[in-house]
Point group: C2
Chain length 140, copies 2
DNA sequence: CTGTGTGCAAAGGGTTTGCAAGTAC
DNA sequence: GTACTTGCAAACCCTTTGCACACAG
């Protein structure tokens, strides 16, 4: 069973070769946030404009989400199975490694209880962490 | 006593008219994150390039910091008095209002205790919240 | 006076839009 | 066949760099 095909079907998106390639890239890096730069380097034969449109389509459909981290570069990461177009369930933390530059989705670091000032209504919370990741720590 | 002059002195920056204008803008919006777009609209007579350089200088000196929020636009906010060049003490939360688009610094919503997977070293944590702010809630 | 800041021009990088041709369903 | 997707060109916006002039200290 092809996971990529399944995801596109699930989100009612056409299964074009390009979309499948991009999606497989995310599936192979399911715990990381990917920059467009990285995606471009990983794709054999690509058109940058089509890539931007594909990412936007994926994001709108709930296939991927923008990973909020402390870098100023936009990073995209695979959504959970249960994300839909208007209900992104990506409240887990994103960790930017200051050494290797990778952004990791830390599924287990969930949003802690937050107390807002009165009259503020909370709809989403993202924890943007930075430091040194486990693999960089292991090398030193 | 002029607060703007004082801040520039404190950070050993030259007190040019332009810098004072920009800094006053931040002082008048001390709890908000400002976009370059907003700053440009607020300044009478400005050069965009100089503005970018001023913001970068302020950031490096610890006068302002980049406010991490869920918008994809860079926003700058005034630092605490005790921020220095290499020690930004801006671990408070940033709240993006989905209605008015304002970003608020919530000084009282501090970073909660975070438990990272083993071998991860934490150096900074930013809480990026979104929802509806108090003034928008009041109007509905 | 000296080193820093400013203003202008130009360039760079990321991202979006328009449109014709191609393709999934 | 029809609606959506792709690929190319061009444009757009934000941001940076280089350099001569102006100005703060």
């Amino acid at each position: 069973m092809d996971k990529a095909v399944q995801i596109l079907s699930q989100h009612k998106l056409r299964k074009t070769p390009f979309r499948l390639d991009v999606l497989k890239l995310f599936l192979n890096n399911s715990t990381k946030g990917l920059t467009t730069h990285y995606i471009e380097e990983s794709l054999e034969d690509f058109d940058r404009i089509t890539l931007y449109r594909t990412l936007k389509t994926f994001e709108k459909s709930g296939v991927i989400h923008v990973a909020i981290d402390t870098s100023q570069t936009t990073k995209y990461a695979l959504c959970h199975d249960d994300c839909t177009a208007h209900n992104h369930l990506d409240d887990h933390a994103h960790f930017l490694c200051n050494q290797c530059g990778e952004t990791y989705c830390l599924e287990n670091v969930i949003r802690p209880e937050i107390t807002l000032p009165s009259d503020y209504t909370l709809s989403s919370a993202h924890l943007a962490l930075s430091g040194i990741c486990s693999s960089c720590n292991a090398q030193s």
